[in-house]
């Protein structure tokens, strides 16, 4: 494992932190680390800050992430990586669509021209909506506590899609699916970053697979065209034991 000393922990609301540490390794937007908290577990986390001062943004969901957000400046962070196929970042005019903590992996893509749709269940769960230039972001919440009441897709509908060279999307798989369905017959190119269980991060355990491809090595980013051919996308995945379940109905 790589071990680094944490130089800063930035609190982002109630249950989310960004942990910063110096690591002179090239990491590209869309890549992730397998972060190990000894005595707890090891979980995949996207790199939210890709400069020499790296950063990972963690929201507490389960036991391990809850313990990780308790890490302090001066503590050690253990991880391996970087892993995964990065986003293709050549295009200039970006449309960035993030749901919940999915914004963490999209943060390095935000530049002064980027347009964003940031969605979350409720206003306190919104992440990095404030990182877009003035007037460049549409906020959407499930409960209407901030911005438009609805889902990410509702924030997209008012935008002129033909003004962008590439759309980047990250969030829950059903959100990704609804967006893919919406843009299927529209000319905008898109890249999606998927999240599934990852036990190894290196293309061995098969826990993250979708239609024979491993998210950890061949993804987690996939293009619109790649996803269109996948019938497990938005429909089925394997649980921790390897049991096949329907997505959204468990």
């Amino acid at each position: 494992m790589i071990a680094k000393i944490i130089s800063e922990v930035e609190k982002l609301g109630r249950n989310t932190v960004t942990i910063r540490f110096r690591w002179d390794q090239e990491v590209q937007p869309g890549q992730f680390l397998m972060v190990w908290l000894p005595r707890h577990s090891e979980i995949p986390i996207s790199v939210s800050h890709t400069g020499p001062m790296k950063g990972i943004t963690i929201r507490s969901y389960g036991e391990t992430s809850a313990a990780m957000i308790g890490l302090r400046e001066g503590d050690r962070i253990f991880f391996r990586g970087p892993y995964g196929r990065p986003f293709d970042t050549k295009p200039v005019r970006k449309l960035i669509v993030g749901g919940g903590s999915g914004m963490a992996g999209l943060l390095p893509l935000i530049d002064s021209d980027a347009r964003g749709v940031v969605s979350a269940r409720t206003s306190s769960d919104l992440l990095f909506a404030d990182r877009f230039a003035e007037g460049h972001v549409t906020v959407v919440t499930d409960d209407g506590s901030s911005g438009i009441k609805g889902y990410a897709i509702d924030g997209l509908k008012s935008l002129p899609l033909d003004e962008f060279d590439m759309m980047y999307v990250c969030g829950p798989e059903l959100m990704l699916k609804s967006i893919l369905d919406y843009i299927v017959d529209k000319p905008i190119p898109a890249q999606f970053s998927l999240e599934r269980i990852m036990k190894c991060g290196i293309g061995v355990c098969d826990s993250c697979s979708i239609d024979g491809k491993q998210l950890c090595t061949e993804g987690p980013t996939f293009t619109k065209e790649e996803l269109l051919g996948m019938h497990e996308f938005g429909t089925a995945r394997l649980t921790e034991s390897g049991k096949r379940i329907q997505i959204g109905r468990h």
């Binding site: 979980i43 050690r76 290196i202 096949r244």
Partner: protein, 300 residues
């Protein structure tokens, strides 16, 4: 003209390579993909009688010369595995169902299910913990191994492979106990561990794990050679195969076919087509026409 097809226990294989158990074989679609990439057959991950989530990660970590793993026999349970078998079998190539249990009776129930699901053969993973002899592996008890193998052989119609553990004092004794199996699979991972010196702690959650990859290749070759020489049984060689030379070494030690696991990590999924090309090249330059001409040539 060089032919790289081979056979094991009467099952025809288009080339000598199959996917090893536990690597990219939990999801039926992944097994299909591996078949498309050139594996002649796939072995499923080891399936038990009930659903298990396994250990918490880290369960697989890269180390010098290979991988260290202790997945903890995570599996959906045999009843939930029917769909994956069906998907994998749609590739119209052999699918070997790997099963694990603690008793002959458990193995039998699992074997019968695999047969019902259409498995081409079953592979008995004899490396799981032995309930009675706590702390050891099922595969280190010759009486139990013989009981399991014989029970399955007398109740199943499909071939039975016994996968042996290298973590024993005398593998020949175990191989002889598994004499009735249609083929022996050698070897499973070698018990090992890794400590993170900064965390001052074992990296794997289970602390102990199994070593695979390059680091164990010559251990595997030696076991294949020894068991082939002492028993004359059909053998599937496994452990650290990354290129055509490694595969040929196993064949010359007495294996009729091989399995590939860790090389999926070190070499990627094209490993099957790359090895096949290297194999053809070697056979052409050395004047071999068939795999059978190479099997066991080094054994003396």
């Amino acid at each position: 003209m060089v032919h790289i097809d081979t056979a094991i226990a009467g099952i025809q294989l288009s080339n000598p390579m199959m996917l090893a158990s536990g690597i990219l074989d939990e999801n039926g679609y992944t097994m299909l993909e591996i078949l498309k990439k050139g594996a002649a057959a796939v072995v499923t991950k080891s399936i038990g009688t009930s659903e298990r989530t396994g250990y918490k990660p880290p369960v697989v970590v890269p180390i010098q010369g290979g991988l260290l793993n202790a997945v903890g026999l995570a599996n959906p349970g045999i009843d939930n595995f029917r769909d994956e078998m069906k998907i994998a079998l749609s590739g119209n190539r052999p699918v070997f169902g790997s099963i694990f249990g603690a008793t002959a009776d458990e193995f039998l129930q699992l074997g019968l299910k695999m047969e019902e699901y259409g498995a081409t053969a079953v592979e008995l993973n004899l490396s799981c913990p032995h309930v009675a002899g706590y702390g050891t592996e099922v595969g280190s008890d010759p009486v139990l191994v013989e009981d399991i193998v014989n029970t399955l052989k007398s109740n199943l119609k499909i071939p039975v492979f016994a996968k042996l553990s290298p973590n024993v004092t005398d593998i020949v004794e175990i191989a002889k106990a598994a004499q009735k199996a249609d083929a022996l699979v050698l070897i499973n991972t070698v018990r090992a561990m890794s400590i993170d010196i900064h965390a001052r702690k074992a990296v794997l959650t289970n602390r102990y794990g199994g070593l695979s990859g390059q680091a164990i290749k010559n251990v595997g070759v030696r076991y294949v050679y020894e068991v082939s020489k002492e028993t004359g049984k059909e053998i599937i060689g496994v452990g650290g195969i990354e290129n055509a030379e490694d595969l040929i070494e196993y064949i010359m030690a007495g294996a009729s076919a091989v399995q590939i696991g860790t090389a999926l990590y070190t070499q990627g999924k094209d490993v099957f087509s790359r090895i096949a090309a290297g194999l053809v090249e070697f056979m052409e330059s050395e004047g071999f026409n068939r795999i059978s001409e190479m099997i066991g040539v080094a054994v003396e």
